[in-house]
């Protein structure tokens, strides 16, 4: 019952916004190639559903690959930087600087280097997504108290054991926090990747529809993209609850 009520609030908000939108477009007689009413978008969504689904599956693979790449890479980087102060001093400025580089600027280069397949999109997604993972996982690795580390040392634990049995499990809650932020960023990253060079995918569909003044289809693709993002977020939450079962026990 509570969960239903929690779900009702955002649904009601979306419905109200759509009604206002619909009313405004009708009232001001806005041409549908400038801003289509939601009813038209829904119609386009339904009539083009098989095509939307096909494009979505391509984009989903790119997002997932990007998240995996960014997740594994980001976590590995966080561990490396934690283990070696030298690496921390060397890499951290680069990691932060990498976030200042506009992805739009390097996405075309990635297409030149890697072609039109999944990889350039996945890499763009990973490039945006890895940052919150590095930052959050680094915090998590430092979470155990000095006393707990000393307890391990007093029991004769090696550095490797302290990492495996203490720091890695302690970093999982913040790792998941980073992954959830990264998942939404990867959706954006994959779309940008597709805009620069693709033959399939929701980003590609958006560009094509825009060129044909099919703005209703652009919005249908955006809606599909949002659904992908929500789906990914939900999946991550389920995995998080599974992995961090101990957290719900307080």
């Amino acid at each position: 019952m509570k969960r239903l009520a929690a779900l009702a609030a955002p649904v009601v908000l979306v419905v109200i916004l759509l009604l206002v939108w619909e009313g405004a477009v009708q009232w001001f007689a806005v041409p549908h190639y400038v801003l289509p009413p939601p009813s038209r978008i829904v119609a386009a969504f339904v009539s083009h559903f098989p095509s939307l689904l096909a494009h979505a599956s391509v984009t989903l693979v790119e997002i997932a690959a990007g998240l995996l790449l960014g997740g594994v890479g980001g976590f590995a980087l966080a561990i490396l930087v934690f283990l070696s102060p030298l690496l921390e001093r060397t890499l951290y400025p680069l990691i932060i600087a990498s976030q200042m580089v506009p992805v739009f600027a390097i996405a075309p280069l990635l297409v030149v280097w890697m072609g039109y397949g999944v990889w350039p999109k996945a890499v763009v997604a990973a490039l945006i997504g890895f940052f919150p993972i590095v930052v959050n996982a680094s915090d998590g690795l430092r979470a155990p108290s000095e006393e707990t580390v000393e307890l391990f040392r007093s029991l004769g634990a090696t550095r490797g054991q302290i990492l495996r049995k203490l720091r890695l499990p302690a970093s999982l809650p913040t790792l998941f926090a980073g992954l959830k932020v990264a998942a939404t960023l990867c959706v954006v990253g994959a779309t940008i990747g597709e805009w620069v060079g693709a033959q399939r995918g929701l980003g590609y569909l958006m560009l094509q529809s825009n060129a044909l003044l099919r703005v209703d289809l652009v919005f249908a693709a955006i809606a599909m993209l949002s659904l992908l993002g929500l789906l990914l977020f939900a999946v991550l939450r389920i995995i998080e609850r599974r992995v961090l079962r101990w957290r719900g026990t307080g």
């Binding site: 108290s145 006393e147 000393e150 040392r153 007093s154 961090l244 101990w246 026990t249």
Partner: protein
């Protein structure tokens, strides 16, 4: 002559921090016999914890020698003052941490821990997470983990300090019975005079920084002891006066 479990000779330690040097320990010397309960009593922040950390092999003394038993080496199980249970592990898996670190087979360690759980009042809570346990149970679990390290000497840093008085009293009784049963050497650190007198064979009184041992008092009260006895009360008064003088 009984065997020596802990041998501390002329141990000194000074910490350097941003503002200067803090002399934590100054020439501490004492010997603890195997199987006895010794308590270090002193005001908060007087270097008691530093002494335990030296004995646990976590800190090197600047001068002097701290050795366990006949040969020096790892023979202690250290229980830090603050909660160090791992929240992502079940009670049972928290208890077998030492065995796991030493690479002993996990199932054997688990079944051994299960047996001890009954004695520690933790039966039925093997699969609970620390967050699901009461303060007293968490402390018993931390103590179970310490016992399961299979070391001869237990170094306990205010293990009951964070508990409410009622739970604390109950756990003191229980800890005594466990000690009588398992015959370990215990070195307890506390600032609670009654706890020191009720539990130990011997009380070492420590002064404020730089800490040294100013008194070495055998507690020759018969066991089982009575917290409310006149003998204990009079000793408590004297010991308190001594501690207040030492400021």
């Amino acid at each position: 002559m009984k065997h020596v479990a802990i041998h501390v000779e002329d141990v000194s330690k000074t910490f350097r921090d941003g503002r200067g040097n803090v002399e934590a320990l100054a020439s501490v010397t004492f010997v603890v016999e195997r199987g006895t309960w010794t308590t270090i009593l002193g005001p908060s922040g007087c270097g008691k914890t530093t002494l335990l950390r030296i004995l646990a092999g976590l800190v090197r003394p600047d001068a002097g020698r701290a050795a366990m038993g006949d040969e020096s080496g790892e023979k202690t199980a250290y229980l830090p003052q603050r909660d160090t249970l791992l929240p992502w592990r079940t009670a049972l898996d928290n208890a077998i941490l030492a065995s796991e670190i030493e690479g002993r087979p996990r199932e054997a360690a688990r079944s051994e821990a299960r047996e001890l759980f009954a004695r520690f009042g933790l039966s039925g809570f093997e699969r609970h997470y620390p967050a699901q346990l009461s303060g007293g149970m968490r402390q018993r679990l931390a103590l179970a983990r310490t016992f399961l390290a299979h070391r001869d000497v237990l170094l306990l840093d205010e293990p009951l300090g964070s508990l409410d008085p009622l739970t604390r009293t109950a756990l003191q009784d229980w800890l005594l019975s466990i000690w009588a049963e398992l015959r370990k050497t215990i070195l307890l650190v506390t600032h609670d005079v009654e706890e020191a007198l009720f539990l130990s064979d011997r009380v070492l009184v420590m002064t404020r920084r730089p800490a040294t041992i100013t008194r070495d008092l055998p507690v020759d009260l018969r066991r089982p002891r009575d917290r409310l006895s006149a003998e204990l009360a009079s000793r408590k008064g004297k010991l308190l006066a001594l501690l207040l003088d030492g400021r």
